[in-house]
């Protein structure tokens, strides 16, 4: 028996970017026909960070164009779409609401099923779209302010093993870059500096390694870099090029050591499930850093687990992952009706208990 071919339109507007995509899925495989992300041209490096599109208005202005472009690039009209998937949380409520309202309108106009998708589930299911991973798999999900270890048991069942208790790694790289006068985002320049640095010159802390579990902490590491910088400036009156490279290398080595050890613990918990095809997927900017990626791959290799890192463009916010997650949801059961409402707070490992009216905003945790 051949599984039906399903074409899904995905819509994402829960954070900084406005995105739309068309994914064609059959059985366990999906093909991205188009994936449009608007908003990244607005990155504002001079500001020392990424200025977010928090305004619902900005999403509203871009959503129609994103959907039009995604359909055009995919070469399908609305009539060729089988279902509409939209991020319905968590995220900044204005943005989520804009996307949900558009999706509800499209569903009403076309009569197609509507699927509300958890943004984090979109990220967590991406390795199935890109690499066809089978459940259960282990995921290190690093996106925006997140950093968490998840076991994906099913498309609607995720188990959180631990995560950062303060800063995410990407945030630590951004802040260290800022402390050392390097451009934003901080990941690439810190990695480039570290290439010429001596990681053993500074003995930075390895936060939380002395404690059991898979929780991570990076805030103290940033402060340790600040203190070394200030100590050098106090003695020498400034930083040499070599100082900066050494600080970057030692910082990066500390991040790698912590991520690797915590990953090893997470892999061991996961291996206790005796998965038939064990796999450790790393999504996000962490996998774009060669040193971190090498450290994480080494953990997977030594633990006998496959290592998967989806392409970075599918690890940052996008709508292809929303379309795919919508498809996975559709295969599991009922779709949403047109009363689908946004949820600003929607933890992945929480059962679908109603959170509406809790008055929480913004927290993607």
């Amino acid at each position: 028996m051949t599984a039906a071919v399903t074409t899904i339109l995905g819509i994402e507007s829960s954070c900084d970017d406005t995105a739309a995509a068309v994914v064609r899925a059959q059985g366990d495989t999906g093909t991205i026909l188009s994936s449009v992300v608007l908003g990244q041209a607005d990155l504002h490096a001079a500001f020392g960070g990424v200025v977010p599109e928090i305004a619902a208005r900005a999403h509203v202005e871009k959503l129609d164009h994103a959907v039009e472009a995604a359909l055009a690039q995919a070469g399908v009209g609305l009539s060729g779409i089988d279902a509409i998937a939209v991020t319905s949380g968590p995220g900044l409520i204005g943005g989520v609401l804009s996307g949900v309202m558009l999706a509800r309108g499209l569903a009403a106009a076309t009569g197609k099923p509507l699927l509300g998708v958890n943004h984090l589930a979109g990220h967590a299911l991406t390795p199935r779209l890109t690499d066809g991973l089978a459940f259960p798999y282990l995921m290190l999900l690093v996106s925006g302010g997140h950093c968490q270890f998840l076991i994906a048991h099913a498309a609607d069942r995720f188990e959180r093993l631990g995560g950062t208790i303060d800063d995410a790694p990407g945030e630590a790289f951004d802040k260290v870059a800022k402390l050392l006068g390097l451009p934003q985002p901080g990941g690439p320049p810190v990695e480039a500096e570290a290439l010429h640095g001596d990681p053993s010159r500074f003995d930075f802390p390895r936060p939380l390694l002395d404690r059991p579990g898979c929780d991570l902490s990076f805030s103290g590491l940033k402060t340790a870099v600040l203190r070394e910088r200030d100590a050098l400036v106090a003695v020498q009156g400034g930083l040499t090029v070599q100082d900066r490279a050494d600080l970057c290398a030692a910082f990066q080595a500390a991040v790698a050591a912590v991520l690797a050890e915590k990953s090893r613990r997470a892999v061991r918990v996961y291996s206790g499930l005796n998965p038939a095809a064990p796999a450790f997927a790393v999504a996000g900017g962490v996998a774009a850093n060669t040193v971190l990626r090498t450290a994480l791959r080494a953990v997977a290799d030594s633990e006998g687990t496959a290592f998967v890192a989806p392409p970075l463009r599918l690890c940052t916010d996008n709508a292809a992952m929303i379309a795919w997650a919508g498809y996975e949801r559709m295969r599991l059961g009922p779709t949403d009706d047109r009363t689908l409402t946004p949820r600003s707070r929607w933890p992945l490992d929480e059962d679908a208990a109603p959170m509406l009216g809790a008055g929480r905003r913004g927290a993607k945790a």
Binding site: I54, A55, D166, K222, T223, G362
Partner: protein, 162 residues
Amino acid sequence: MTTATATLSLDIALPDEAATGQLAATLARCLRAGDTVLLQGDLGAGKSTLARALIRARLAAPDLQVPSPTFTLVQVYGDGLDVIWHADLYRLGGSDEVVELGLADAFGTAICLVEWPERLGGLTPPDALTIALSPSGGDVRRAQMRGSGDWTARLADLAPDD
């Protein structure tokens, strides 16, 4: 002109994280719904550490996860009558975005802890408590606390004995 209350001006040395925790615990006791605390200071000055300790003390939850709000912009804690907003305005462009974020609505109803409050501009609540954190050699940090309204009376516990 007569004023019932003097403007608060208090400098406290925080020699270690335990001292930060003590300051946070005192603040947690003194704060009321509708108060805003502006946390100033450079990267690594200890703004998030103070906010985290304050939130945990206020909610009597020492292990509560209080992640950095730099990317999410706002994290909201507590429920019912005791709601705490922890905001980081570092990534914001201006005060109109503060309105979009819902923060302006939260002022006056929730306890709001605001990092990088310079972005508030004209939306800064006039009776906010400002805490400026700065390094003061080694692990020592300095907390300069300023505020009009009745902060001097409310934070009398923190004032040095005369």
